[in-house]
C-alpha cells in the first residue's frame, strides 16, 4: 500500500515539475525539449493544458502518430463519456447537437484528423497500413461533420486526402490492352539495277489491324504493340529509261515494337514514342525486256526499323490514335490514323 502511495506522490511531483518545464519550453517554442520530456514520461498524468502543449510540440516535430496516441489518451482520460455518446449518436444516425460537446474535445478531434491527413499525404505508395489510416480518417471526418467544427477547413482536408488516395491508387501500374485498326501509308525505296542504278520510290497505302498490351498508371503507359499490315503501292520511274511503272502492287507484313507514352489528361489522352520493327513483303515485276533490258529490281531489306511519334485520344473505352514515323537509315515516312478500343 505504502509503495503505491509513494509512486502516486512521485508522479504528482514530477507532473508539477513537467508543468513548469513544458510551459517554459512552450513559450520558447523549443518543441523538441517538450517532446523529450513527454517521451521520457509518457505515463505521467498531464493536465488538459499540458496535453495541449505537448500535442502542439509533437505536431511541430512532425510526430503525428505519437500525437494521435496522445490525443486518444487525452480523450479517454477527460472526455470518455462525451466521446462514447457522440459515437453512439453517429452510429445510430441521430442528429447531433454540437453545442453539447466540449471545445477541448473538438480541438482534440481536429488534431487527430490533421495528423492522419499529414500521415496519409506523406505516403508515396499504397499499402494496407495507409488504407487503415484512411479508414480512421474517414471516421474522424464523420465526427467533424457531426460536430460542425472547422467545417470549411475539414472539407478542404477531406478533399485533399481523397485526392491523395486517388493518386496512390492511380500510381499503381495495371495491365492495359487494346485492339486497333489503322489506315496507314508509307513509302519505300526500290532500285532498278542495270548499267546504271535508278532509285524508285514506292508510295503505299493500306490498313494495319492489331493491338497493344502493356501496363499503365495515371501518368505513364509502357507497351508492346503490333499489327498485321496489308496494302498496295504505286511505283514508277520518272526517268525515261528504263521505262517502269506498276500499280496496286500488293504488300503484306508485320509491324511490331515497344513504346512508351505520357498521359497528359484525365481523359487519358497521351503522347509518346514507339520503335516499331516493320517486316514487309512486296513483289515487283522485272522491267519488260523491251523497256528495261538488263535491268533488275533490287529491293532493300524487308526488315526496317522506325522511330515514331504517337498520340492517342480516348473517348471512354474507344480511342483515336495518330502516328508519324521515320524509317531509321533512310528518308521515308510512315504515318497512320486509326481507332480502337481499350480493354
Amino acid at each position: 500500500m505504502m509503495k503505491w502511495v509513494s509512486v502516486f506522490l512521485i508522479l504528482q511531483m514530477s507532473s508539477s515539475v513537467f508543468a513548469t518545464s513544458i510551459k517554459k519550453y512552450f513559450k520558447a517554442k523549443e518543441w523538441q525539449k517538450i517532446v523529450d520530456i513527454y517521451q521520457s514520461n509518457k505515463k505521467a498524468s498531464f493536465t488538459e493544458k499540458e496535453f495541449g502543449m505537448i500535442s502542439e510540440a509533437l505536431r511541430n516535430r512532425e510526430q503525428f502518430r505519437e500525437d494521435i496516441s496522445l490525443n486518444i489518451r487525452f480523450i479517454r482520460i477527460y472526455f470518455n463519456s462525451e466521446h462514447s455518446k457522440l459515437m453512439k449518436e453517429i452510429r445510430s444516425g441521430a442528429s447531433t447537437d454540437s453545442e453539447q460537446f466540449s471545445d477541448a474535445l473538438k480541438h482534440s478531434y481536429w488534431s487527430i484528423i490533421n495528423d492522419l491527413a499529414q500521415i496519409i499525404k506523406g505516403i508515396k505508395k499504397k499499402s494496407p497500413e495507409v488504407e487503415k489510416d484512411f479508414k480512421q480518417f474517414q471516421m474522424f471526418s464523420k465526427i467533424m461533420e457531426a460536430l460542425e467544427f472547422n467545417e470549411g477547413k475539414t472539407d478542404k482536408l477531406v478533399s485533399n486526402v481523397q485526392s491523395h488516395m486517388i493518386y496512390l491508387e492511380e500510381k499503381i501500374y495495371r495491365f492495359s490492352g487494346s485492339l486497333v485498326f489503322n489506315y496507314i501509308s508509307w513509302q519505300s525505296e526500290v532500285n532498278l539495277q542495270g548499267t546504271e542504278t535508278a532509285k524508285l520510290l514506292v508510295t503505299n497505302r493500306g490498313y494495319c489491324l492489331g493491338g497493344d498490351a502493356g501496363v499503365e498508371n495515371y501518368r505513364y503507359h509502357f507497351f508492346v504493340d503490333g499489327c498485321l499490315l496489308i496494302g498496295s503501292g504505286e511505283i514508277n520511274n520518272k526517268d525515261a529509261q528504263p521505262e517502269y511503272q506498276q500499280s496496286n502492287v500488293p504488300s503484306y507484313g508485320l509491324k511490331a515494337g515497344p513504346g512508351a507514352s505520357v498521359i497528359v489528361s484525365s481523359s487519358k489522352s497521351r503522347i509518346g514514342l514507339k520503335i516499331p520493327f516493320v517486316y514487309t513483303i512486296q513483289n515487283f515485276e522485272e522491267p519488260s525486256p523491251t523497256s528495261g533490258n538488263n535491268y533488275t529490281v533490287k529491293q532493300k531489306s524487308p526488315l526496317t526499323m522506325q522511330v515514331s511519334l504517337y498520340s492517342r485520344f480516348n473517348l471512354n473505352a474507344w480511342f483515336i490514335q495518330t502516328e508519324i514515323g521515320q524509317y531509321i537509315g533512310n528518308d521515308e515516312i510512315f504515318w497512320g490514323l486509326g481507332f480502337g478500343k481499350s480493354y
Binding site: K238, D239, A240
Partner: protein
C-alpha cells in the same frame, strides 16, 4: 470623338480586295493572250494542270499571267533554258529536282510536256 469617327471611316473605306475570287476573271473569263503561238498552245496545258492550285489562295496568282514576260518576271521560267526554269524542274516529267508537280496527279502526257518545253525553248 471626331478622331474616332475618322478611324471608323478608315476601316470602312479601306477594305481589302484581294481574296480567293480576285483572279476569277483570268481563271474563268475570256482572256487575251500574248500573240505567241507557242504560248497560246502552252496556256491551256498550264490552265488545266497548274492554275487551279496556283491561284487558289494568297500564295500564287498564275491565273493572271497572260504573257510569257509575266512568267519570266515571276522567276518561273528562263527563256530558252528549260533546265534552269523552275516551272519545268518542278514537273515530274523533267527528271530534275524536285519534280513533284502536278501534286495531285501523275506526270503530264508527253505531248503536253513537249508543248511546255517548246514554249520555253522558243523564247528569245
Amino acid at each position: 470623338m471626331n478622331y474616332l469617327f475618322l478611324l471608323v471611316l478608315t476601316f470602312i473605306m479601306s477594305c481589302q480586295d484581294y481574296n480567293s475570287s480576285t483572279s476569277d476573271r483570268f481563271k474563268y473569263g475570256p482572256l487575251v493572250l500574248e500573240n505567241n503561238p507557242q504560248f497560246q498552245a502552252a496556256y491551256p496545258v498550264i490552265k488545266s494542270r497548274c492554275i487551279n492550285c496556283h491561284t487558289s489562295n494568297i500564295h500564287d496568282v498564275w491565273a493572271s499571267y497572260t504573257t510569257s514576260a509575266q512568267y519570266i518576271s515571276a522567276g518561273l521560267i528562263v527563256p530558252n533554258n528549260t533546265d534552269d526554269s523552275l516551272f519545268i524542274r518542278y514537273i515530274q516529267n523533267s527528271n530534275l529536282s524536285p519534280a513533284t508537280m502536278p501534286l495531285n496527279a501523275g506526270p503530264l502526257p508527253n505531248d503536253e510536256y513537249q508543248i511546255l518545253l517548246d514554249w520555253i525553248n522558243g523564247l528569245p
